[in-house]
């Protein structure tokens, strides 16, 4: 199990290299996904991510366990930040490894789909015009139906 929930920034390169170095022989495929703060409308001062301490870790561990049940995975990393961040800062990442690429790709997409709609994080955007909670996208809920 490798689930980390933290307010501090993380270094994608260092995480990806550490993940890759920890793989045993036979894992031929490594996939990473990284989510970055988008300044959609222009003028984003900050994004704040609220979460539900305790439940967050629990939900992410359950999502990881489901992925391990469904695919042949070597290792899984789920790292998600909370707190205040700026445009272009990295919010979160997942990494997966498997023998062949199909498992690592599908598991990473599954982790992201479930994390988006089932892990207790909420984004609030701060701009010069005020602050507002990001609305959930119907596509994100729909994405769960494919699994």
């Amino acid at each position: 199990m490798a689930v980390r929930v933290q307010s501090e920034p993380f270094d994608l390169g260092a995480e990806a290299n550490a993940f890759a170095a920890a793989q045993g022989g036979g894992m031929g495929a490594i996939v990473t996904f990284t989510g970055v703060v988008r300044d959609v409308a222009g003028g984003l001062d900050a994004m704040e991510i609220e979460h539900y301490p305790g439940m967050t870790e629990r939900a992410l561990e359950q999502i990881e366990a489901q992925a391990r049940d469904r695919w042949g995975l070597g290792d899984v990393l789920i790292l998600h930040r909370y707190g205040r961040m700026r445009a272009d800062e990295m919010i979160m990442m997942v990494a997966t490894s498997s023998r062949h690429r199909k498992d690592a790709f599908e598991a990473a997409e599954f982790l992201m789909d479930y994390l988006k709609s089932r892990a207790p994080f909420w984004k609030k955007e701060y701009t010069a015009e005020g602050a507002g909670w990001v609305a959930a996208r119907d596509e994100d809920e729909d994405a769960l139906n494919r699994w």
């Binding site: 989510g35 991510i49 609220e50 979460h51 539900y52 305790g54 439940m55 629990r58 939900a59 998600h80 919010i91 979160m92 992201m112 994390l115 988006k116 709609s117 089932r118 892990a119 207790p120 994080f121 909420w122 984004k123 609030k124 909670w133 990001v134 609305a135 959930a136 994100d140 809920e141």
Partner: protein, 82 residues
């Protein structure tokens, strides 16, 4: 006695992140009815249950879920992580 937690705009509408509630409610829906009867800010927060999600003891569930033995109930909008 049950801990009730609020997140995101639910927390903002109700004005507190957490409170302890004395209740005999058998289900989440009954607890919501009791809270709505308290004050207008609860009515505002719980106006549209389809816009809300609920977790009992840190597991996502629905508004029909029983509360017997539950220690913690949390209300929040749909999640937007990732």
């Amino acid at each position: 006695m049950i801990d009730v937690l609020y997140f995101a705009w639910v927390r903002e509408r109700i004005g507190t992140p957490r409170e302890t509630v004395e209740t005999q409610a058998a289900t989440v829906a009954e607890l919501v009815d009791e809270l709505r009867a308290r004050e207008e800010r609860y009515q505002a927060a719980f106006a549209d249950l389809s816009a809300l999600r609920v977790a009992v003891d840190q597991d996502l569930t629905d508004f029909d879920a029983p509360l017997s033995g539950a220690r913690e109930v949390a209300f929040f909008p749909p999640m937007t992580g990732g």
